[in-house]
């Protein structure tokens, strides 16, 4: 540590009742807050699992303002927190500036690529997982119409939608995919009422399965689907338990694993580009006692076959973000 860092760190330590901040890892949640039943909460779950297994503790902060992004990064880095993990693409540009100032600190960012020597960028192949749940939807549908409800309209969510549509059409070329986005601002991540309304709208268009890739908004989607007696597909965490028999499956995005891995590696965090896809169990399809009755053996066999082909490279699922276009779905 430089003298300055020591000084600043000291002032921080002074401010603490228990002066044990140094060397603890830190986790920064984005403005949405950590209890969003989805993305941030998965990260929190991963960290808690780590804490429970190792008995160590970690620092955390939920941001309340834009200016705090850089502030939190710098303060944790200066206080010696290592590694510093953050959830969400919004940290991308800030981390790109801050990381070079703290070469001794390791950073991990989820859902974004930051090209710095001390940063681990964790991205997921959501299109692959979405392709598999799309296949299941395509096989399960009786009306030949399936729905997709996204949260905020950003390329990442279009990536979900595109993979899903490809999967649907691969399994059922006659099917029709209806896609809606909840909104264009971060508020769209947490609007279950609007999610429910969109679900009803899609049901009226004939959809009998909806896939919600919408953070907290998805809770409303799943609820309405269960109330209206159609199937739904959850996202990020395993949401099958929310409405057993109605939630067909969940597209797992193992943010918790990513956080857990980063914490476990600790100060020896492996930096660089970390893609979590089907091959390394970063994404997947949730199967448990809640949905075993509604998923047929035949369906599973086809999904596993497709998964194998994707892992082996025999089959390519188009990634929307690679060229901002989707062959299977119009936005």
């Amino acid at each position: 540590m430089t003298v300055m860092q020591r000084l600043l760190g000291a002032s921080a330590v002074l401010a603490l009742s228990a002066g044990t901040a140094a060397a603890e890892p830190a986790l920064i949640f984005d403005l949405g807050g950590k209890f969003d039943k989805s993305f941030n909460e998965a990260a929190f779950a991963g960290a808690q699992r780590w804490a429970a297994e190792t008995g160590d503790s970690f620092r955390e902060i939920e941001l309340t303002s834009e200016a705090q992004r850089e502030q939190a990064l710098r303060r944790f880095a200066e206080a010696g927190a290592n590694p510093v993990i953050m959830t969400g693409f919004a940290f991308g540009s800030v981390l790109g500036e801050v990381a070079p100032d703290y070469p001794d600190t390791k950073f991990a960012i989820i859902d974004m690529v930051v090209d710095q020597p001390n940063v681990r960028s964790v991205v997921f192949n959501e299109h692959e997982g979405s392709f598999l749940v799309g296949m299941m939807a395509g096989l399960k549908t009786e009306t030949n119409t399936v729905g997709f409800i996204g949260g905020m309209d950003i390329p990442l969510i279009r990536k979900f939608a595109c993979g899903y549509a490809q999967g649907v059409l691969a399994a059922n070329p006659d099917a029709n995919v209806v896609a809606n986005m909840t909104g264009t601002t971060p508020a769209a991540w947490n609007d279950p009422v609007k999610g429910g309304e969109l679900t009803k709208a899609q049901i009226s268009q004939g959809a009998d399965i909806v896939y919600a890739a919408a953070g907290g908004t998805g809770v409303g989607v799943l609820q309405v689907a269960a109330d209206e007696g159609i199937f739904s597909i959850g996202v990020d965490s395993n949401q099958n338990y929310l409405h057993p028999g109605s939630v067909l499956t969940s597209m797992l995005k193992r943010v918790d694993v990513a956080v857990y891995d980063a914490l476990t590696q600790g100060t020896d965090l492996e930096t660089g580009f970390n893609v979590m896809g089907l091959a390394n169990y970063g994404v997947g399809v949730a199967l448990d006692e809640n949905n075993e009755a509604i998923v047929s053996y035949d369906m599973l066999a086809q999904v596993y076959a497709a998964a194998d082909k994707i892992v082996s490279g025999e089959m390519m699922v188009h990634d929307y973000m690679s060229d901002d276009s989707c062959p299977a779905l119009e936005f």
Partner: protein, 375 residues
């Protein structure tokens, strides 16, 4: 009736209000099992104990000075401009457009142009409610509130559909060119080896905010326009009698108010983020109302109140960094201060006035009776 001396009205009441707010906050902190003294210590050292802390405190202060002045100017014309939030958003658009599309050689050229851009856009956004109030009698509180929502939606549209670089996920503009980046306190005040204000977002805009305080003071208390604004604000019938046009005053006061709100964007958009993001205003427009109320619509009061709220913001951030006080409770503490200084002013004022009266009665009569004239 002037029961209390001016200093008590201007200083004692806010101080007592703040003290009460802190005592109640301390109770809240104790209730969740934390140590209030440690929490206060964290806030004070974090916000004021280092150049870094000051860098953040003054950054927030700058925002609040602009929005507080905006509310004050409108308030002198008895216009309750709740629309600072929307005006600052639009000001951000103005600043962003200027910074994105004009190639500036140096920030010193970019700053005045961006100031004009921000002020024009903010003023334009205030102009519509002002016109509706002046000509159609639509209540300014209602229209400015509604315009906040419209501004929010407009900003979403602009960022998502127009200004967002292709392929980006964040609804935000591209980063501004390096030549528009304003010097931060770190750039300005770091001499020798040790960098001061390291990483803090406070920048040259702060000094411009101070200049604005002085300019608003001049405007309100030293110019004909300010005189007319105050006259209209105190009594519309009297203004009519004196030949002061209400329409003109409403329009001008609201344009200045909107312009000041818009200039806030210089600090957040150009000074800190160096790009326009969706929530660059972050409630500063609303905090401005509390700041103006607490500052008694006087630029000096606004400056001090803005400093207090800057301290609360930065202290709150430190609190959530280093303690387990959840961020919702930090908002509660900030809200308590607003509640006591803004809304519950009379709760402190009344007993204090009684106290002053009691104190006065004990003194010999002639010296203390208010200057009620003899016939």
């Amino acid at each position: 009736m002037d029961v209390m001396p001016k200093w008590a009205d201007a200083l004692l009441i806010p101080l007592i209000s703040i003290a009460i707010a802190f005592v109640i906050s301390a109770g809240v902190i104790v209730a969740i099992g934390e140590d209030p003294m440690a929490a206060l210590n964290t806030m004070v050292t974090g916000a004021l104990g280092s150049s870094y802390g000051w860098g953040y405190t003054l950054y927030y202060t700058t925002n609040f000075i602009f929005t507080g002045l905006a509310v004050s100017v409108a308030f002198h014309a008895r216009m309750f401009n709740i629309g600072g939030e929307g005006q600052a958003m639009l000001g951000g658009v103005g600043v962003a457009l200027v910074c994105l599309f004009i190639p500036f050689p140096h920030w010193s050229v970019a700053l005045p142009v961006a100031l004009i851009g921000g002020a024009l856009f903010g003023a334009a956004w205030a102009a519509i409610p002002a016109y509706l109030q002046a000509k159609r009698g639509s209540h300014i509180v209602i229209t400015t509130i509604m315009f906040n929502f419209i501004a929010g939606s407009l900003l979403v549209y602009l960022l998502v559909e127009v200004l967002k670089p292709p392929g980006a996920m964040d609804p935000a503009t591209a980063k501004f060119a390096a030549s528009t980046h304003l010097p931060t306190f770190q750039d300005m005040f770091s001499f020798g080896e040790k960098p001061a204000f390291r990483g803090a977002p406070a920048n040259v805009t702060f000094f411009f905010a101070l200049v604005s305080c002085f300019a608003v003071w001049l405007l309100i208390w030293r110019t004909r326009l300010g005189y007319a604004i105050r006259a209209y604000g105190h009594s519309e019938p009297a203004a009519l009698y004196a030949g002061i046009s209400p329409t003109r005053i409403i329009m001008i006061a609201m344009l200045i108010s909107g312009g000041l709100s818009g200039m806030m964007a210089i600090n957040t958009v150009m000074g800190e983020a160096e790009r326009l993001v969706l929530n660059s205003v972050e409630g500063a427009g609303f905090i401005g109302i509390a700041v103006a109320l607490m500052g008694r619509s006087h630029p000096l009061g606004v400056l001090l109140a803005a400093l207090l709220f800057g301290f609360l913001y930065q202290g709150g951030a430190e609190l959530s960094l280093w303690t387990n006080v959840p961020r919702e409770l930090i908002v509660v503490i900030q809200a308590l201060v607003i509640l006591f200084t803004g809304a519950l002013d009379n709760m402190v004022r009344m007993p204090l006035e009684k106290l002053f009266l009691l104190f006065r009665r004990k003194q010999p009569e002639p010296a203390t009776t208010s200057p009620k004239p003899a016939e």
